[in-house]
């Protein structure tokens, strides 16, 4: 059957529709806020002010966004190859091990600008290797990657718990975490950039990983749309049969894509571990891997969209925390509900309003939706 809708101009596709989806999510969230007896408009003001109102808020928002950029990119790279990597969470978590080894070994001898590259390599490598096993099983044994990556999240969590209450825990400590890193493994903050614009920051964890995340976003764009490897990944992602026809090795492309995805997931660990906590603690990923799925979907798998979506989720995290603090009736769980609504409307129901908007566009200016022929089944 023919696709009943024509194409939209890019600005509407990538700007207007997400905006409408987001607005609907916030309107529904507003009703939820009303339901618990608070004023939704005041809640919205607190949320936005909490995220962007003060320098500290902005820094926190961008700190969270950094984490989500990495996990979003990780999910997107796999998705372009037709693979649903649910294992970002576990790949990031286990990458903490690689960072721990580098930081604990060198933090007393090397300066941060030498430890950092080593830690980047270590985190990417461990994340990639953790993704390699499910990728191999998918490519060679046909074990579904969704199932195996979920299971590998649990395995990663168990390994990390074992290590953090055992071998990696300093003797005599009660906390399930490594010792605190020394200055040689502490990343410089970026708060001064925000202070350049005149805002004041008390203390916020925004660090150089944010820049690394932006560089990675650019590299992912380059990989997907400008390299032969990216071309092969997209071919396989859209049609494994076409990839077979084109002589693209299924095994090679699945394993490569998953390892890149795992490497990006692994780099996420740098941000909280070296940029903020300065130790590897239990559950430091705390769901960022799963948020990455929403970020990738909302960002339409495009690095620019992912950066924007990551900032949005960073705002929800930071503003949400302020909201929970300011309005006692709104608990932490309420924030999760709002985030869930955003995921629901921006991700799962992404196409809900599309037909109406397309009809609207077509009635305004038929040229703007310029499509030559109806595709699909012949007439």
């Amino acid at each position: 059957m023919s696709t009943p809708y024509a194409k939209l101009p890019a600005w509407a596709d990538y700007g207007l529709i997400p905006l409408i989806n987001l607005s609907v999510a916030f309107i529904v969230a507003g009703f939820v806020v009303m339901l618990v007896g608070e004023n939704p408009f005041r809640a919205a003001v607190i949320l936005v002010e909490g995220a962007f109102g003060k320098g500290t808020g902005i820094a926190f928002t961008l700190f969270y966004a950094t984490t989500f950029i990495f996990t979003g990119l990780s999910v997107a790279v796999a998705a372009h190859c037709g693979l649903f990597n649910i294992g970002t969470e576990g790949q990031a978590y286990i990458a903490g091990l690689g960072i721990a080894i580098v930081c604990l070994s060198f933090d007393s001898t090397l300066p941060w600008w030498l430890t950092f590259p080593l830690a980047i390599v270590a985190s990417a490598l461990v994340g990639a290797l953790w993704a390699l096993i499910p990728a191999y099983l998918q490519a060679k044994r046909g074990s579904h990657i969704v199932i195996t990556t979920i299971m590998f999240n649990f395995i990663a969590a168990s390994i990390m718990v074992y290590l953090l209450v055992g071998p990696l825990k300093p003797a005599g400590s009660q906390a399930p975490q490594t010792r605190n890193f020394l200055a040689g493994a502490e990343l410089p903050k970026l708060n001064w950039i925000i202070e350049l614009f005149g805002a004041k920051i008390r203390s916020a964890p925004l660090n150089i990983c944010f820049l690394l995340a932006l560089v990675m976003a650019f590299l992912v764009w380059l990989l997907i749309w400008r390299t032969k490897l990216g071309y092969e990944m997209r071919t396989y992602g859209h049609s494994p049969k076409a990839a077979r026809y084109a002589g693209i090795s299924e095994t090679r492309i699945i394993i490569t894509a998953m390892m890149i995805s795992g490497a990006l997931a692994g780099m996420m660990a740098l941000n909280p571990v070296m940029g903020d906590q300065h130790n590897v603690a239990i559950d430091f990923v705390s769901g960022a891997g799963f948020v990455g799925i929403a970020v990738a979907l909302m960002g339409r798998l495009h690095p620019v969209g992912i950066v924007l979506a990551a900032i949005l989720f960073g705002m929800l995290y930071q503003g949400g925390a302020e909201l929970a603090f300011e309005m006692p009736a709104i608990s932490r769980d309420m924030i999760v509900i709002i985030q869930g609504l955003v995921i629901l409307f921006a991700g799962a129901l992404e196409h809900m309003f599309r037909p109406y908007i397309q009809a609207l566009f077509a009635s305004f200016s038929p040229k703007s939706v310029g499509m030559q022929a109806i595709n699909g089944k012949g007439a």
């Binding site: 059957m1 023919s2 696709t3 009943p4 809708y5 024509a6 194409k7 380059l222 400008r226 390299t227 032969k228 490897l229 071309y231 092969e232 997209r234 071919t235 859209h238 049609s239 049969k241 076409a242 077979r244 026809y245 084109a246 002589g247 090795s249 397309q358 009809a359 566009f361 077509a362 038929p366 040229k367 939706v369 310029g370 499509m371 030559q372 022929a373 109806i374 595709n375 089944k377 012949g378 007439a379």
Partner: protein, 510 residues
């Protein structure tokens, strides 16, 4: 003048900016067979979908039996006595005929009385229209011709007075098609109205009383069939004169380019799909493989192109063997001069979500011409795509457009341009013009013959007998995985049709 069964008055339908139907007026007389022809994308399916309630017209009026009708869903259409037989059957494969017939029309929870009623009704319908089918047979075990009969019975069971058939003969052997036509004539004699959508002009001439021609969303003409000709209809469809049969000179067959010996292929269930097939393909000739869809042609093509694992036999390309373990690298075969236009361009030959220029390098993306180190050389790829667009008159000529937005004919041209322009020694083509409009068919056929005249070896597999006959220098007929005969291009349709139906083969076996 018979009373009109259906009148369509001023029907308009747009999808976005695309006006699929504009101001369509059509009157279909009761008790006649009315053909609707047109190229792909002319709006035939859209019009019928409006009539059957899949789409709503933007404006216009439908009258059924003289009364204005509002058809919002297929259920409304069924209630008005309109039945539809789809191109792709809407049957549940693992249900029996009877179960499929009552599906959606069942009246009781345990189906007991529904089934009893259906059985007696089916019996009556079968007798009345000569539509014999075993009511307890399982659909997937029936040949396509019978499955189609079940679709017709399904519509009649629901009280259809007006039957719409969408490209009904695409999957049938000539004999099955003849049988279908007999059934349609019988339906007509019983006072039913039949609407036949097709792009095969021969069928129109053979069976319809009236024919309407659509082009680019408009109804350009309605003719009494006996007062028109195939040439006139083709011209009306395309808007210009068309050569229905491409002229070509004698083949000058040279050395053997591709030698297939005792090739046997089984599918994933272990069923033998290609059974001990041997043939040679020489330089400067076109060999056509005829056969009803599903007789092993697809598997044969896939095995030769190294995509599918073959159990035994050998394929020699220019004297060197092709790896038949299913692990062959199609890229390596391309380097050796084997180009392949796959049957399924939507899922295999193209990536519909890609831009046109991205598809124009699919399979050749390892070629250093298109690369700069690990990066794609976008400038070179675009220049190359523009070049092919010009040479092959691919429309619209925008290499940045998404491939899904091209029409079937232009999509096929994208694939052909890609494969032919690599200047391969051997070109194997599956269904060169499936879903391709008449104007593009002519172009594609000319290209293939030009390849032949340059001394290339061309293997064509097609379910369109006309195409095979007009292109091929030698015709091989496949039935049940075997090559059951070889004929020259002068073979009659009847002769080939019998071979395709396996008649001669079975007689020989007895």
């Amino acid at each position: 003048m018979a009373q009109a069964a259906i009148e369509l008055i001023g029907i308009n339908k747009s999808f976005g900016a695309v006006r699929a139907n504009r101001d369509i007026n059509l009157e279909i007389a009761r008790g006649t067979i009315h053909g609707i022809v047109g190229e792909n994308g002319a709006g035939k399916s859209t019009l019928m979908s409006i009539l059957y309630g899949f789409y709503q017209a933007d404006s216009g009026e439908i009258r059924v039996g003289g009364k204005p009708a509002s058809i919002k869903t297929p259920n409304d259409a069924i209630a008005l006595g309109i039945g539809m037989v789809h191109q792709h059957f809407m049957l549940v494969d693992n249900f029996s005929v009877l179960e499929n017939i009552i599906l959606g029309a069942e009246t009781d929870a345990l189906l007991k009385s529904s089934i009893a009623k259906a059985r007696s009704e089916l019996d009556r319908l079968e007798r009345e229209y000569g539509l014999e089918v075993d009511p307890d047979a399982i659909i997937e075990e029936l040949p396509v011709g019978l499955q189609q009969r079940v679709e017709i019975l399904k519509a009649l069971y629901r009280g259809a007075e007006i039957l719409i058939l969408d490209e009904p003969t695409g999957v049938l052997t000539p004999a099955e098609a003849d049988h279908l036509f007999r059934i349609l004539r019988q339906l007509k004699e019983q006072g039913k109205t039949v609407v036949l959508i097709t792009h095969k002009l021969r069928e129109i001439m053979a069976i319809t009383d009236t024919v309407s021609v659509m082009r680019q969303g408009t109804m350009v003409a309605t003719r009494e069939t006996r007062k028109t000709t195939v040439e006139e209809l083709a011209e009306l469809m395309v808007g210009r004169r068309v050569l229905l049969r491409v002229e070509k000179g004698e083949a000058e067959a040279g050395a053997v380019k591709l030698a297939v010996k005792n090739l046997t292929v089984r599918d994933s269930r272990g069923v033998t799909m290609v059974d001990d097939v041997s043939f040679d393909l020489r330089a400067g000739e076109i060999v056509g493989i005829a056969g009803v869809a599903g007789n092993g042609q697809s598997e044969l093509l896939e095995a030769i192109s190294g995509i599918r694992h073959a159990v035994s036999g050998s394929v020699m390309l220019e004297g060197k063997p092709i790896d038949l373990t299913g692990k062959a690298d199609p890229g390596e075969l391309r380097d050796r001069g084997l180009a392949h236009v796959p049957e399924d361009r939507h899922h295999v030959g193209l990536v519909l979500a890609f831009e046109e220029n991205e598809n124009s390098i699919l399979g050749y993306h390892d070629d250093p011409r298109y690369l700069r180190g690990p990066f794609l050389n976008i400038d070179a790829i675009m220049a190359d795509a523009r070049d092919k667009i010009e040479k092959y008159d691919i429309r619209p000529g925008n290499p940045r457009l998404k491939t899904a937005n091209f029409s079937g004919g232009n999509q096929q041209k994208i694939v052909l341009a890609r494969e032919i322009e690599q200047d391969p020694g051997v070109l194997i083509v599956g269904q060169p013009t499936r879903g391709v409009d008449v104007g593009a068919i002519e172009f594609i056929h000319k290209r293939l013959i030009a390849m032949r005249d340059q001394g290339k070896a061309v293997l064509v597999v097609s379910v369109e007998l006309d195409e095979i006959r007009s292109l091929s220098d030698r015709i091989l007929v496949m039935f049940a995985g075997r090559i059951v005969g070889e004929r020259g291009p002068e073979a009659t349709e009847g002769e080939l049709g019998l071979l395709m139906a396996g008649v001669e083969h079975q007689e020989a076996a007895q």
